[in-house]
């Protein structure tokens, strides 16, 4: 009796309570969403990211929100030194951001991915290149990036490690300012071979063939990024950096062929996979 009377006296109370609870829930969700912009699918807008050319495809895939400017890392660093309006700087090596940090132009850089170099040859392979040692043959034309560009400096390190510097540089016909220019010239068949990142070679699958650079001669290729000191959007810039470092961002980088910052423990298959049973599609790996 009493409850019925209570209900009669406060017809909308229950509805109001439900509405309040719904509002609180929505508010909490919204707050949660705002507080962690690194949730998958979140876009950071209103910032400009200066990034190395090899990141042209993967960065917009991680976050299409920012405005991007892709070029050789040294070209971007030169622009930042002249006051270009960048909020984040991502370089294909650690030394360029470190130099900018020493000048107080960026905050502390952080490593975010690794890569390897490969040799690419045109699909028709006019000079019949099958290994890096074939690049020393007379008459072969090679394209590399300039020594100020990270990939160019890595190329020179590889050649020094293998003691092929003189022989290969004798066949170099052009030095580009951008790794994608090297890739384009090889893809067009203008040169017999070029040195690019393995991730770049994956962007033009049918047009080039990849020749391995020996693992024992590979330099340590680590990419680093930093928030630009004079950026007016420090928080948004930092959240972009966090996005790249997040699990989703790192997974995206791996899917584009970049290497994880720490090599995962090796898994060796010590048993053949279990045989299929008719009707079942699951396979189990031995390792």
């Amino acid at each position: 009796m009493r409850s019925m009377a209570t209900r009669a006296r406060n017809p909308g109370a229950r509805a109001r309570r439900r509405a309040a609870a719904a509002c609180a829930l929505a508010g909490a969700l919204a707050l949660f969403g705002v507080a962690s912009p690194t949730l998958a699918g979140a876009n950071v807008t209103g910032i400009t990211v200066y990034a190395a050319s090899s990141l042209t495809d993967v960065f917009p895939a991680i976050d299409p929100g920012p405005a991007y400017s892709f070029a050789g890392s040294n070209a971007l660093a030169a622009q930042i030194q002249l006051g270009a309006p960048a909020d984040v700087f991502a370089s294909a090596n650690t030394s360029i951001p470190a130099a900018l940090y020493a000048k107080g132009l960026v905050e502390q850089p952080v490593d975010f991915t690794r890569n390897t170099l490969v040799i690419v040859v045109p699909k028709s392979n006019p000079a019949s290149i099958s290994s890096i040692y074939d690049l020393t043959k007379p008459g072969v034309t090679i394209d590399i990036a300039g020594s100020g560009v990270p990939v160019g400096s890595y190329t020179l390190q590889i050649l020094a490690n293998m003691n092929l510097t003189k022989a290969v540089l004798a066949n170099v016909v052009s030095e580009e300012t951008d790794v994608r220019d090297v890739l384009a010239k090889v893809a067009l068949g203008q040169v017999d071979a070029g040195f690019v990142y393995s991730t770049d070679a994956q962007t033009v699958p049918g047009q080039v063939t990849v020749i391995k650079v020996p693992a024992w001669a590979q330099p340590k290729v680590t990419y680093a990024m930093a928030v630009v000191t004079h950026s007016p959007n420090q928080a948004a810039a930092q959240s972009f950096v966090n996005e790249v470092l997040s699990k989703a961002g790192q997974a995206k980088l791996l899917s584009y062929g970049f290497l994880p910052l720490v090599k995962p423990a090796e898994k060796i298959a010590t048993r053949p996979p279990a045989k299929h049973r008719p009707g079942k599609h699951k396979t189990t790996d031995g390792g």
Partner: protein, 275 residues
């Protein structure tokens, strides 16, 4: 009052325009001290680029004059079907973006290009060497010269040519002794502009000939490469450029003035005006 306002507006606009054009040139020469600029010039990059630029521009200019002059004369004096179309085609590279010119040269004369196979069969190598630079420079500067030469030849009075012929001079003698001196001002203007344009060519060169110090890296390519590495060197090359091209244009203007002061041939004045 209105006349004063008009005068102020007139001069104000001119001042702004002149300042806009002159400021970058002045800044190039004054951003760093002359001592810094001169010492940066001692960088081997600069010497190599200067040598490559002078060599390739000289060869390109010679070829442009050699092939461009008869072409321009033919286009100026003969009337034939498709003349307008041909004139447009010849002038097209002037307005084409240099990058388009670069791609065009690659797919025409590059190793796997339209004429690439034929060229390599003939033993001609136009790939990442100075011949490629010359080709790129000719492609962008040649049409400029031809355009001016066509205008210059067109301004020559046909009656004088006819008179020369009736007086017994052969076609070649007429050409060299009558036509060329009459068109001289316009030809010289076209040649000077073509030379300056060729010296400054960047897009077609870097795409078709590549950039290698001492081989194909011309002055503009050196500026581009050094901008990322050593700003002082880039500035000094740029300042050098301003001086060189300024000298070319200035000498052209001064010789034209000298020519027209020597005789008041209205044909010379007309050909100068058409430049």
């Amino acid at each position: 009052m209105r006349r004063a306002l008009a005068a102020i507006a007139f001069f104000g606009a001119s001042a702004i325009a002149l300042a806009f054009l002159v400021l970058p040139l002045a800044a190039l020469l004054t951003h760093r001290s002359p001592a810094t600029l001169v010492s940066a010039l001692s960088n081997p990059v600069v010497g190599d680029a200067l040598l490559v630029s002078l060599k390739t521009s000289a060869v390109a200019q010679a070829l442009v004059l050699l092939f461009g002059t008869p072409t321009a004369y033919m286009l100026a004096t003969r009337r034939f079907r498709g003349r307008t179309l041909l004139l447009t085609l010849v002038e097209l590279p002037i307005v084409l973006p240099p990058a388009v010119a670069g791609i065009g040269l690659i797919v025409a004369f590059g190793r796997l290009g339209l004429a690439g196979g034929a060229l390599s069969a003939l033993g001609i190598d136009v790939s990442f060497n100075q011949a490629a630079v010359v080709a790129a420079v000719m492609f962008v500067s040649g049409p400029l010269y031809v355009r001016f030469a066509v205008a210059a030849f067109g301004a020559v009075d046909g009656q004088l040519v006819a008179a020369s012929r009736t007086l017994g001079a052969g076609p070649l003698r007429t050409f060299f002794r009558v036509v060329v001196p009459l068109a001289g001002g316009g030809l010289a203007a076209g040649a000077a502009l073509a030379l300056a344009r060729g010296l400054g060519e960047f897009g077609a060169t870097i795409m078709f000939a590549g950039s290698l110090q001492g081989v194909t890296q011309t002055l503009p390519l050196a500026i581009y490469a050094e901008f990322d590495n050593n700003l002082d060197v880039a500035l000094s090359i740029a300042a050098l450029f301003v001086i060189i091209t300024g000298a070319i244009l200035l000498s052209l203007k001064l010789t034209s003035v000298w020519h027209s002061s020597r005789s008041d041939s209205r044909y010379r004045a007309a050909s100068f005006a058409s430049s």
